[in-house]
Symmetry: C2
Subunit: 331 residues, 2 copies
DNA sequence: ATGAAAGCGCTAACAG
DNA sequence: CTGTTAGCGCTTTCAT
């Protein structure tokens, strides 16, 4: 790989001059610029972003970090896509890490981001008091939290109204006459789980339905736990007539259980899921769901991050996006 | 952020010594090591991977690139997961880019990888003669191609037996009595599309069914085109009785069209898709599909890459994994 | 407008 | 076993 020196030699100028032209500095003679550009092309020179990053300060390193909880979850894939589209426009690369809901892995990846000198970071913290993330924010690294916030900190944050979303879902179930409504939750320690629980109990309370602890089950936010917990629930002596599932993977798992048992939806058991999916309409039956705007979350987060990188002193923004109830045939 | 010098000063040693201990070099006194470690901890020092990468040569930079065609496609998500798990074990970070099936974007990202000094690259080339990828391989960068190969080049490669997979799918359809079988393909210029086409025509030929060009439709490998092409096909005066769909997104799109039209599966139209999905069983009806081992492809690719990084002279490997026909109820 | 030279944070000879 | 020093490839004063 050709480097600056090679180009300088070929063009018959100093490395400083080459650097000036590739960085679009004003103060360079048009003729020399041409010479340099020719040499650049001839050698197919691309400046080393590594060397550049070592020299540059602040917001000029052209790399941001993105830390997601579970790349296998289509919701986060949408978020990633949103972040990516915006980053591409800004000529930024993304260092992406998937911590698979494991705190140890997340911590390791956060250290990695520091060590890679990213200009900023988009992260969905493991939980609200994630000390590692809080440390990062305090250190001054431009950060925006998505999907989940951290307690009491000065960060930009993009979330969805989880309480309202869950409330709407459960209210819909109640309006259909259900009284024994189960909540198959994800990991107990993550904010979205507890917020959705709040919405669930609020809806129940509003309609004077007693909350039955037996009907609330926590899992690990993955397909497998949706499957398993749905089975547990449906095998109770007095099983629920409706299921509210905490995320799309859980929904899919629960659906699998229901089908395995040969139960009719919504006659024998109704189901509504948090998170819509592009193929929800093709499920059996077409799924009624609470839709989160994953792509917009990603876009907004990236835009907010680039704003903050440009102006680190800007006040913090908390953006709360709305969910949408998409009614199909599963309840 | 503390740096080597800070640690050296605090520990009262030279930077070289600090470097030695953080790199686990043998030749260092146990006491000084302890002092250094204490200083490292006190300052919460993490070596700059950027500086390290600038200095290190070859396979010690701890960063690989991963370039995927479409992060929204669950198949590639599995591949990514496989790569990630292996990389994590080797203490490597992944610079991931999604080129969304656009060649321009792919080229740009390949330049980025060079500029970021990755130790190696895993890529699904846009097409078989992708000059950018070929250039990369010639330049000596350890590379492994996944999902799609490049023509005539010395690369490691992990693919699936696409011809056989497609053949099996179409043969199954034929065994159910279908004669008018459509193939809803993805992008016409990508290898998997044409390979699967080969399997499709081979099966037809074997059973002496004339291939009808009208029944073969190319699209863009996404949900939308599956939806649109299925509609076109189903609205023909003499529509196909069965659909073979070229990837999972196309399948989902086609399914949506079928349901919108209120057609019964498999009675009025049968469907079999390339790519299985974790939730195929919950689709309406449970989907019969050709399953590709995405996760294993990713794992194998990463393992092969790390082997090559360790020994760049090793001969090339072409790994061809088998597909599996998963029979459920859609045909 | 251009060049010389310092230095970003680190590693790897080379001495000692 | 440990320190000194020369870079890795680039940007950026500071001169000229």
């Amino acid at each position: 790989m050709a480097n600056l020196k090679d180009v300088a030699k070929l063009a018959g100028v100093s490395t400083a001059t080459v650097s000036r032209v590739i960085n679009g500095s004003e103060k360079v003679n048009n003729d020399t610029k041409k010479k340099v550009l020719k040499a650049v092309k001839a050698l197919d020179f691309k400046p080393s972003r590594v060397a550049q990053r070592l020299r540059f300060k602040d917001g000029k390193r052209k790399l941001i970090g993105l830390i997601v909880p579970d790349i296998q979850n289509p919701f986060y894939v949408d978020v990633v896509k949103g972040v990516e589209d915006i980053s591409y426009k800004h000529d930024y690369a993304i260092l992406m890490c998937n911590f698979a809901q494991e705190e140890a892995k997340e911590n390791l990846y956060i250290d990695l981001m520091r060590a890679e000198s990213v200009d900023g970071l988009i992260v969905a913290p493991v939980h609200e008091k994630d000390p590692k993330v809080i440390g990062l924010i305090r250190s001054g690294l431009p950060t925006v939290c998505v999907d989940r916030g951290v307690e009491d900190e000065h960060v930009d944050i993009v979330v969805v109204d989880n309480i309202q979303g869950a409330f709407n879902a459960v209210e819909l179930l109640i309006s259909k006459g259900h009284k024994r409504i189960a909540y198959i939750a994800g990991l107990p320690n993550i904010p979205t789980t507890t917020l959705r629980l709040k919405g669930y109990t609020a809806a129940l309370k509003k309609y004077k339905i007693k909350v039955d602890e037996q009907l609330i089950r926590f899992g690990n936010s993955k397909h497998e736990s949706g499957k398993r917990l749905a089975a547990e629930l449906l095998e109770m002596k007095n099983p629920p007539t409706a299921l509210f599932t905490g995320n799309n993977l859980i929904t899919l798992g629960a659906l699998e259980t229901i089908h395995t048992k040969g139960l009719k939806i919504p006659e024998e058991v109704a189901i509504i899921g948090f998170d819509d999916m592009p193929w929800s309409i093709s499920l059996n039956p077409p799924l009624t769901a609470v839709s989160q705007p994953g792509y917009d979350i990603g876009r907004s987060a990236a835009e907010m991050l680039f704003q903050r990188i440009a102006d680190p002193t800007r006040g913090n923004i908390k953006l709360e996006l709305k969910t949408k109830l998409v009614i199909r045939n599963s309840c």
